[in-house]
């Protein structure tokens, strides 16, 4: 086989299959592939967790890590309650102010899915789950952790499986609001965009330069744009970047959900993002 014809053939075939894949024509093939690999990856993940615990430390370090994980989930849950409470208070005030405006968002309904694989690409942060369009999932649906904090959105969906784009993915951008302890600030809240970054957690960008935020403040979705329900916990402010001459302030946000160790996620079934909900 000659190299030149081979190279041209590979080039043509790969470009053709990329086009087909983008049109969704190859989705059944990817669905079959995940059907075959899912049990293997799940089994290996189960094997990999104790191995990772072992590699992280010695003897009882694994127990400490699990205990830490449990406490973290508990903290995340409590933070979620605090955030929900603060947001609810603010919402009540806003609703009182805007007499007649009614909250039409119904009670959330969740679909529970298991994480079956992680995208090995270093350029993405994505997880595969064991539910797909056959279970009512669609692209853009919002995914939460067990503790109720935001994990990401469904980016690709097949019949029986789906890929979740995590909030830490470089392509993810979520309209967010910082809930400060100050009552006055709470009424308005510093608004920004929580964007994913390579090799770091989340960066809260586009904050007003005079935004009064500090480490430990809770960050939730603002609901602007209609792609996420408001009041979902994203994380806490880990550090604030001080740039006196900058037009905007930015801050690093530590996600509330333990994204690298997610095993189960909740998909909000009755919230359709603006794109899917239509006019």
């Amino acid at each position: 086989m000659r190299l030149l014809p081979w190279t041209l053939s590979v080039l043509a075939l790969s470009v053709f299959s990329i086009l087909l894949s983008e049109r969704g024509t190859l989705a059944p093939l990817q669905n079959v592939s995940l059907t075959i690999t899912a049990p293997l990856t799940a089994g290996l993940q189960d094997l990999g967790d104790p191995t990772a615990d072992f590699l992280e430390g010695v003897f009882d370090r694994g127990d400490i890590a699990r205990e830490n994980e449990r406490l973290r989930e508990e903290l995340e849950h409590l933070q979620g309650e605090v955030a929900a409470g603060e947001d609810a208070q603010r919402r009540v005030r806003e609703l009182e102010e805007a007499l007649g405006v009614k909250d039409t968002r119904p009670e959330d309904e969740f679909v529970v899915a298991d994480v079956i694989a992680e995208d090995p690409s270093e350029l993405k942060r994505a997880l595969a789950i064991n539910l797909g369009s056959g279970d009512g999932l669609d692209e853009g649906m919002v995914v939460l952790s067990k503790g109720g904090s935001l994990v990401g959105t469904i980016s690709r969906v097949y019949d029986d499986f789906a890929w979740i784009r995590l909030v830490t993915d470089p392509n993810s951008a979520v309209n967010a609001v910082v809930l400060t302890g100050d009552q006055e600030e709470e009424a308005s809240g510093a608004r920004g965009v929580a964007a994913g970054e390579l090799r770091s957690d989340l960066t809260l960008e586009m904050l007003a330069p005079d935004a009064a935020i500090e480490e430990g403040d809770l960050v939730t979705t603002s609901g602007l744009g209609g792609n996420y329900p408001r009041g979902l916990l994203l994380g806490t402010i880990a550090s604030v970047e001080e740039r006196p001459q900058a037009t905007f302030t930015s801050a690093r946000v530590e996600p509330a959900a333990d994204l690298p160790k997610l095993e189960t996620v909740l998909i909000i079934a009755n919230f359709l993002p603006a794109r899917l909900a239509g006019p």
Binding site: T7, L29, L34, T37, A117, A128
Partner: protein, 173 residues
């Protein structure tokens, strides 16, 4: 048989990459097992075999990621060309060191091509940060893990040496 073996090796590498390997971080990145396997196979077994094995491994990889199918086929194709060039040139006596060089070079090529594809399909790829924080570390980490992958492939591809005596053997040698 060799292609069946290559398929199962690629399948195992792809499954490991989606399950266990995300827990492994060296210099902040995860080694790319499929790339390492394909590059080592090409260097040990030659470009003729690599012309089949590399696309096969790439398709297996594509089917276990969220990337568009065909991305890895395109991005891993330089392995064949590089393996051919390096084996033809034979810059040093060792076969092992050029293999590490090919792994490092294909890590760079893979990153650039996959970032190009993702950009073309509409993803927002932070090129500067990706090259600095992902590609450069991978060019070091992948050859490091190739040290573990190369010897088994080399060992498997060893042919049993013919032991014979007499005039015939002299002709064979």
């Amino acid at each position: 048989m060799k292609y069946v073996l290559a398929f199962f090796a690629a399948f195992l590498a792809a499954v490991l990459a989606a399950s266990v390997m995300p827990h492994v971080h060296v210099l902040g990145v995860t080694p790319d097992l499929v790339l390492i396997l394909a590059a080592c196979w090409a260097m040990v077994r030659g470009h003729q075999e690599a012309m089949v094995v590399v696309p096969m491994a790439a398709i297996v990889r594509d089917l276990t990621t969220s990337d568009p199918v065909g991305t890895s086929v395109l991005a891993l194709a330089p392995i064949v060309l590089l393996a051919f060039a390096v084996r033809e040139l034979r810059p040093v006596e060792s076969e092992f060191l050029p293999a590490l060089l090919v792994v490092a070079a294909t890590s760079l090529a893979y990153s650039i091509i996959s970032m190009t594809v993702l950009t073309v399909v509409g993803d927002d790829v932070p090129w500067g940060r990706a090259l600095l924080l992902v590609t450069l570390p991978l060019m070091l980490v992948n050859p490091l893990f190739a040290v573990l992958v190369y010897p088994p492939i080399r060992w498997l591809s060893r042919r049993p040496r013919r032991e014979s005596f007499g005039v015939g053997s002299a002709v064979q040698l």
